[in-house]
């Protein structure tokens, strides 16, 4: 390790220990375990800053945070899955004594033996860890793919195809009251006929041209090509709108983090 690296590391650690001491003293009047309380907040702040430091460039602090994150998150998912599904849903159906051990209400049933099937499939999945019997893992894989292919087939058909088609049946003339009325009111309110009618025309043409853009088996030229070009424009408006709409959400995440640093760690705001 280079000397400058060691100096930087030492300085950072020094600062965080200082922050720990300061934070603990300020917590001393409120908390019993103020030393631990101070350490927890300081460590959180350290991790927050370690990730943010990646914006400058890759560094050992980021690497530390990254590797810690990977380890902790994998274990978190395992623990939650074990307690909620294995203990919560499987054991009550399989064994009375285990149910008593884990203190979950046993659910007797004459067909409960079928719940051994997922256990067997699950164990086959774990065989993937062995290189010799790894191919057993294809069975549960096939089960999962089959389940979701089936589920998705009907649900997408219904909600994203069938329902969307009928939702597009919009009138191209909304309560037509003559040209004078049409061109005199450009408001977004219910009385603004122009906006409503143009909006529906845009929906009509937009959906049709958009679908034409996704037509793969016909060459996009001539009138078809023109429609497909309009389609991509509509898609671009959609993407632009999505982007604009999203920026705000992304900013709020940073607001959350900075608020944590200023309030919980540095005590700058209340």
């Amino acid at each position: 390790m280079r000397r400058s690296t060691i100096i930087v590391m030492a300085a950072v650690f020094g600062l965080f220990i200082l922050s720990w001491i300061l934070r603990s003293t300020s917590l001393a009047s409120v908390q019993e375990h103020y030393l631990i309380g101070g350490l927890k907040v300081t460590f959180s702040a350290f991790l927050t800053l370690a990730i943010l430091s990646f914006l400058y460039k890759d560094n050992p602090f980021y690497k530390f945070a990254e590797h810690l994150f990977v380890g902790i998150s994998a274990a978190f998912w395992m623990s939650m899955g074990f307690w909620t599904t294995i203990v919560g849903n499987l054991i009550p159906r399989l064994s009375r004594s285990l149910s008593e051990f884990f203190q979950v209400p046993y659910q007797p049933g004459s067909y409960n033996f079928v719940y051994f099937i997922p256990v067997i499939l699950g164990i086959m999945l774990l065989m993937r860890l062995s290189s010799k019997y790894g191919w057993f893992a294809r069975w549960p894989l096939a089960f999962i793919v089959g389940t979701f292919a089936g589920l998705n087939f009907v649900r997408y058909l219904r909600s994203d195809f069938v329902e969307q088609v009928s939702a597009t049946f919009v009138p191209l003339l909304v309560g037509w009251q003559g040209v004078g009325h049409f061109v005199s009111n450009f408001s977004l309110s219910a009385s603004g006929q122009f906006v409503a009618i143009v909006g529906n025309w845009v929906i009509f043409l937009g959906v049709i041209c958009g679908i034409i853009y996704f037509f793969f088996s016909k060459e996009h030229k001539g009138a078809f090509g023109a429609a497909s070009r309009v389609g991509i424009w509509i898609l671009m408006i959609t993407f632009g709108a999505s982007f604009g709409y999203t920026v705000m959400g992304r900013i709020s995440l940073l607001v959350g983090r900075i608020t944590f640093l200023f309030r919980d760690w540095l005590n700058l705001i209340s």
């Binding site: 939650m80 909620t84 599904t85 329902e163 709409y245 900013i251 995440l253 983090r257 200023f262 705001i269």
Partner: protein
């Protein structure tokens, strides 16, 4: 509580702070613009720094704006408001800590509104990381602010189950098959809130709060379209545009991002003024949001200016 003698210089201080930060941001942008006019790109780290300042400054020196509920938000509010007391409302907390700053304000507003109205609330989540958040927010909002509401009677926490949309696929016909007990191991049969609730069909309103997958889309696909129960949603801004096709037929209303939350909060404090003291995080967040928005827009403009200038130079050469 601050003394009046103290608060005057503090107000002045935050005013000065606001002015200084605006000057820093404005001046900096001008500097970047001038650099761009000379066809020099700025390093992305400088862009990062600007966003940081634009967000941090209004947090230190708060700026607030007024909000008014738009129709798509108002419809959700009106539905909760007009349902008779005792209606069974399901609140799905399908988000993780990362998304929480954006959608937690909505979740809090929905919880408060439902409890104020005397609805019976069922909490659940499809995200493993959501359960820990759900625990925290029940502790804070439900047990902290409404201590007289009873677990199992006025509200219940079903917690998390693994399986994503599969969980929905089961509770659409039977809650107890998926959730034999609530999160604390209490059998559903022994709770009065589940007395005449067998499946999602028996609910009066479903509000899904989310932003990822599984999220609101899965709720619409697996529950909303299958049962005749009105459904509303609060989502992270990023997914709101793609949920618009579901409104108003499949979703009665939609809160998109912090702005949606701020609009809902403004409506909520208008009807229930005492909720104002409990905090309006959505409204408060609009300050930093607005400033950061302006910076992002400025960057788009500057980026394009520098693009056109460099293109013209190329053409001349």
């Amino acid at each position: 509580m601050l003394d009046t003698a103290f608060s005057i210089p503090l107000v002045a201080l935050s005013d000065i702070g606001r002015v200084i930060s605006l000057l820093v941001i404005g001046g900096g942008l001008l500097w970047i613009l001038i650099r761009s006019l000379r066809a020099k790109e700025v390093d992305r780290r400088i862009v990062f720094l600007f966003i940081f300042i634009a967000v941090a400054a209004p947090i230190l020196f708060p700026i607030t704006f007024q909000e008014r509920a738009t129709l798509i938000v108002k419809r959700v509010f009106d539905k909760v408001e007009s349902s008779p007391a005792g209606s069974k409302v399901l609140l799905a907390f399908d988000f993780d800590p990362a998304m929480a700053p954006e959608v937690q304000p909505m979740a809090d507003a929905f919880s408060r509104h439902c409890l104020e109205k005397g609805h019976k609330v069922i909490f659940m989540t499809l995200w493993a990381t959501g359960q820990a958040l759900l625990t925290q927010s029940l502790e804070r909002v439900v047990r902290g602010e409404y201590p007289d509401k009873l677990d199992g009677v006025d509200y219940i926490n079903l917690g998390f189950k693994a399986g994503n949309e599969n969980v929905l696929n089961i509770i659409v016909t039977d809650f107890r098959m998926m959730f034999p007990t609530d999160v604390n191991g209490v059998p559903l049969d022994s709770t009065s809130i589940f007395d005449d609730v067998k499946s999602c069909k028996d609910l009066d309103l479903i509000i899904a709060i989310g932003g990822g997958k599984p999220g609101v889309k899965e709720w619409v696909l697996y529950i909303g379209d299958r049962v005749n129960v009105p459904m509303a949603a609060g989502v992270a801004a990023v997914v709101a545009p793609q949920l618009y096709p579901y409104y108003p037929k499949q979703l009665l209303g939609l809160l998109g991002g912090v702005k949606g939350a701020a609009e809902y909060e403004s409506e909520l404090v208008k009807w229930y003024p005492h909720l104002k003291e409990r905090g309006t995080p959505g409204l408060r967040m609009m300050g930093p949001q607005t400033l950061a928005h302006m910076v992002v827009m400025a960057f788009i403009v500057i980026g394009n200016i520098s693009y056109f200038i460099s293109r013209r130079r190329e053409r001349i050469q």
